[in-house]
Symmetry: D2
Subunit: 325 residues, 4 copies
């Protein structure tokens, strides 16, 4: 197992109530240093623009000093300027501004050696019934992503889907919807960020969605966390839905995923380094647990689609042998 | 507007608690007669096998006597024999049995002049984590539908998606997932039943899903009802989510849908004929309301994606002009 | 740990799609015999009326022959006659019929030595907005339960709350709502069935709800199962939400619950005896896991309300020590 | 109908993504002036502390200049200092700090003539399973509110319940849970803010919850908005769930509510004055619609609990008479 993180894990958190933020400001460089302290973080997904005054060279140096590579560059296309949408904004000037920011992100990706620009158009979509022409919003969503993908032959684009937040209904909502859009765009260099938490939130079976995306050749990167399935709570891995999390990591092994697995956590009230370590500790323990699964037994369960045998396998794996009655 | 219904609306209802059923048994012929009494039902989606002892000729006669056409034949691939799945059943003999039943349904469709066999594989999917090999279940789901589609050149197949019930996770779960599968199958004669209630239940924006399916050339038939968005309650049209229902019918007008719109209701505790009439009454009133929408104004709202203007348009349409302050 | 079950676990299942039932009919006596085969079932919650033709004496004999006691008698106040409500039915004759059936259940409880009549008014509530006068429905709900409680000094009444199904909105919906109603009724002999699955379904924290009910002196009986949190799926214990299930059993230990814990499962597609054993096996394993919790450590976590320490405790408990990096 | 608003409607919005805020900073005085521009806002629920540098005298003057009264003072017990809880914080010093802030809010309420201090302990609760001792958290929640209520005989306390956000599970979660707590506290001066949106979010029937709270003598104040029922979206009144909104206003009329109805909106992407006007316009239109309801007809529907008649009544009210077929 190889690990990474979204850099936001180590940043400053704010929400609409704690408007004075959950902690002090954190610069991009400080966040990289915090990531370095975790001890197992090989790669980072880095937001662009960086915090004020930080240069690409400073970021490159900080990454090198901490033994970390840039994995994705994720442009901030969901801040104030893009509140009414980035690619789907009704104003063509704002759409152009979003594309210009993505263009910069592509350049930064090349400068930092990151293979991927991640697009998370969190403001693209709609809020109320009757507000939008759905066909036009979808057309704009496709046009925006396609345009970014065409910017550079060496940088590929990964779409991170989520059903909502901050927009109440997001255009790129589920694994399947994103696959539909990717097929419509018809480019090979557009793929998907499979985020375990977003998949739980979308009420998907995450292991199922992972396979579907991978079988379509569109699994570009993987993020992990947990939530209460009704919001993107971004909690530690395996802290709520342990069984489905285990199944998701089993699926990653089945597809022989050998690239980093990135943490997507928002430790609002916790120390971020400890929060990252807690998730990594659990992932290692899950990995060890998967080693203990009798794969022939599992294959037999799957052959018969036997729910009770699956229940007993999970019970034995996570709770050990029950005492004889 | 043209109307139809799923024949089950007029049948006997049972659930896991009222095991003595909500009412007396109803034969297929009696159900057709009840549909005839509604007064506006042009077409029926008819379950096959019919109730015990009823022949195709009797059904044809009953339809003719009531001025009703067969719109879909829907095989019962979710009854006892198929409790562990029809197309995705782990037992190849059960899968063959499901296909044989579908073959009969195709023949009945031809005999009754119905253009479509509807497939609703309500038992296909899984119940628990770790129970199934998701790739294999999906492969079987595709194989089953493809096989039915290949049975006859004149009868097309429409898939009715739903996220769950009776299976806790159904394979054909959302509009987008179904489109993904249809693309994988690569046949022109497989389309989608756009069921307003199933779309609400899947937390889709139904008008958005309708356009997406239609723009892919896969809108084969339309069903309508309402629910509380957390279960397939099959309640009267517009009884809970009136605004989104209105938006769905507006989308039907935009795509110039001129085929029947079928009721998919389960009036457990009500008279079915009255329940159907209540929905049809509401649909006619919605249609008249749509006539009153200033389409230039709506286009302007959509151009600007303006939620407050959308809110005011809906307020004026449904509540009339508020008194001047 | 002592175990019991709702007798329905061993009965015949039907739903609105598999109207030919998931299996053959099972008489009350046969269901008791199946319960006996599980091996750990001490008590049963028994539906009344029994299946056709079965007498109280036969039930008493079957229980004795299988070493099982009657724990609750649960009248069928949710079948056809009560489809529009039992205690809240708009027709006073139906309300009287419901009370008469409860009166019989009270008598049967005395004859079988069951201390409790369980009331699960699954049809009491409403389906659509604007359908009911909420105050009147609530008044009727309270009146019905109070009347049953007053029937006999030796038999107490336990209310099983659930948010919905079969009624789309049930009057006794959550632990807190039920406590409010119990306070309004002002009787000491009315308590609550704490059903783990119904609590998950209501989006409660089940351990929290258990303590709240117990601290009000209203915890009369306990039922367990698991579900996907959006429907009462009645699946094996700990098969989906293992961590919260563990926490619920920890809470049972904290309150020193020494009475039976009853299975509330619907093994639609499985062998019921095996389904019951699978849950009991998991509960024993959970019990053994709780023995391994360092209670001083847990107290410290709770003193600090430390989510990461809770995460690590659960990880270590369920996944074992992760390998050193 | 009399109207008011939460002052936050006119303030600056930020969330965890648009960390540069959706608009410029707005001082408390500027927000009052914006409220004044709406034209129908009689009262305000005012957050305390005010924005930096604003004094009580300045607030009093601004209110007077805009013809607005102070309705509630709502202390900011959910900002950075209280991120791990206000009344339920594990640290007694933070709990004391929260109470000190509430004491100031009580004094400000008296100075501004506001009858009520509103408590919305948005950080009180927990995030993960196994994190807290639920009994202790509930004890602290009760202790905190009781202590504030005891601070002054002339200022009463209203609890605003919400199921979650920002805390993932909030202690004061539903109407019924809050009533249970109020009963436990045993004081007459503690009541409830009935927030239509929070009630929808909690999957309550809002009109039912309103009556329940009012019948317990605990309806202290009313807030309104709409949402998608899975998050507290704080959208314009009646923009999504129009039928249930209408039913809620009907319930307000039934209980003869003659006090202001306060907007609780977060117009992230809209002009706040226009957003407020849009809701007020809809509420006036709803009020006019309620005038058109035949109350004898409604009483008859309720007497029979007739869902189809309710459906027809709503159809006629909102869509007008459908054309004769």
């Amino acid at each position: 197992m190889r690990f990474g993180a979204g850099i936001w894990l180590f940043g400053q958190f704010v929400d609409r109530y704690a408007t004075d933020a959950y902690g002090p400001p954190v610069s991009t460089v400080e966040a990289i240093e915090a990531a370095g302290r975790v001890g197992d973080v090989e790669v980072l997904d880095i937001n662009y623009p960086f915090t004020e005054g930080v240069t690409v060279d400073e970021v490159r140096d900080a990454l090198a000093a901490n033994g970390i590579s840039a994995w994705c560059i994720t442009p901030h296309i969901y801040t104030r300027d893009f509140q009414a949408g980035a690619f789907t904004n009704p104003d063509p000037r704002v759409r152009a501004q979003a594309l210009a920011l993505c263009e910069e992100a592509v350049q930064v990706a090349k400068q930092l050696g990151a293979p991927t620009v991640k697009l998370w158009p969190g403001q693209d979509g709609f809020d109320l019934p009757m507000q939008v022409d759905y066909r036009e919003v979808w057309r704009l969503a496709l046009e925006g992503v396609s345009t970014v993908a065409a910017m550079d032959d060496d940088v590929r684009v990964a779409i991170e889907y989520k059903t909502k937040e901050p927009r109440m209904h997001m255009s790129w909502s589920t694994a399947a919807r994103t696959l539909v859009g990717i097929t419509q765009m018809g480019r090979e260099d557009i793929g998907i960020v499979m985020d375990l938490g977003h998949s739980l939130f979308a009420k998907e079976a995450p292991a199922d969605a992972l396979h579907l995306v991978n079988d379509h050749g569109r699994l570009f990167t993987v993020e992990v966390n947990d939530n209460w399935r009704e919001w993107d709570d971004d909690q530690p891995v395996g802290s709520i839905h342990l069984i489905e999390t285990l199944e998701f990591f089993l699926a990653l092994r089945q597809i022989e995923w050998d690239q980093p697995i990135l943490l997507d956590q928002f430790p609002f009230r916790e120390d971020p380094v400890e929060a990252a370590r807690s998730s990594i500790n659990t992932m290692k323990a899950i990995d060890a647990a998967i080693d203990r699964i009798d794969m022939a037994q599992l294959a037999d369960i799957h052959e018969r689609q036997d729910p009770l045998a699956a229940h007993r396998l999970v019970t034995e794996l996570l709770l050990g042998q029950a005492p004889v009655a």
